[in-house]
């Protein structure tokens, strides 16, 4: 039997108790599609962080198995740290975006994207140079 609006209301958290309060305590409820899109964006950032960590772990494993120089372990550690920072940033970015939507303000620029792209390009260049020197 489908839920009635009253059933939903009994389960839904009242607005004043919704967390984080610095987001839900201000403004008005935006179009749910925008909130869902914001949630998906945050999850995509979390997965991006996870991909960086997975790359770092893979690099550590390969370095251990093939007895490669410690320099690669350093790159792997940096990738893991960057991945963790990316995941934390995803949460703050979600807050900033949701807050801006509730207040009807322009969405903040994705500044972390610039840093992420720079780091990935740098890591790619360093690994490419290393691979070239090994040939």
């Amino acid at each position: 039997m489908p839920d009635t609006p009253d059933d939903q209301a009994s389960r839904a958290t009242p607005p004043k108790e919704r967390r984080p309060r610095n987001v839900y305590g201000v403004g008005t409820e935006p179009d749910p599609r925008f909130s869902l899109a914001n949630e998906r964006t945050a999850l995509a950032w979390v997965r991006t962080g996870l991909a960086l960590i997975a790359g770092g772990i893979a690099l550590t494993s390969v370095a251990a198995v093939a007895d490669l120089p410690t320099f690669l372990d350093l790159v792997a550690v940096l990738a893991c740290i960057l991945g963790a920072v990316t995941a934390v940033n995803a949460l703050f970015a979600w807050q900033r975006m949701e807050r801006a939507m509730r207040l009807g303000e322009p969405l903040p620029a994705p500044t972390a994207l610039r840093w992420l792209v720079s780091a990935v390009v740098l890591a790619g260049l360093v690994l490419a140079i290393y691979a070239t020197l090994q040939v």
């Binding site: 389960r11 919704r18 984080p20 899109a37 999850l43 997975a54 550590t60 893991c80 995803a90 949460l91």
Partner: protein, 120 residues
């Protein structure tokens, strides 16, 4: 539903079932995004688990295994699927924090494995 009634529902944090069709595939895409994230975290934990045998850091591997099992359980029992598909409002912040914290935990485990390998 009238605008006034809609505003009343929104003020009470209540979703309107009659609007589910208007949202289109957005709830379904979001539910899938949650499941993809859960799966990615579990695979990440499995990678750390396997890598720990290669790098001789078994304790880190066990921690990753436990984390992976916990996130797999969350994916099944806690990540929102039915709620989204029925058009219910979901308080996603606690779940986002859990997903982010899981990735941070994997990052710490991966960093620890790398550092231990570095000084071995």
């Amino acid at each position: 539903m009238t605008d006034a009634a809609h505003a009343g529902d929104a003020a009470q944090g209540r979703a309107d079932l009659s609007e589910v069709a208007v949202y289109g595939a957005a709830p379904e895409r979001t539910a899938l995004a949650w499941q993809r994230t859960g799966l990615s975290v579990v695979i990440g934990c499995f990678m750390v688990f396997v890598a720990s045998f290669r790098t001789q850091t078994i304790v880190i591997g066990i921690a990753a295994g436990v984390l992976g099992l916990a996130v797999a359980a969350l994916s099944v029992f806690a990540f929102p699927v039915n709620a989204y598909l029925r058009g219910h409002r979901v308080d996603s912040w606690p779940l986002l924090v859990i997903a982010g914290a899981s990735v941070v935990a994997i990052g710490i485990l991966g960093t620890a494995a790398g550092v231990l390998t570095l000084f071995r």
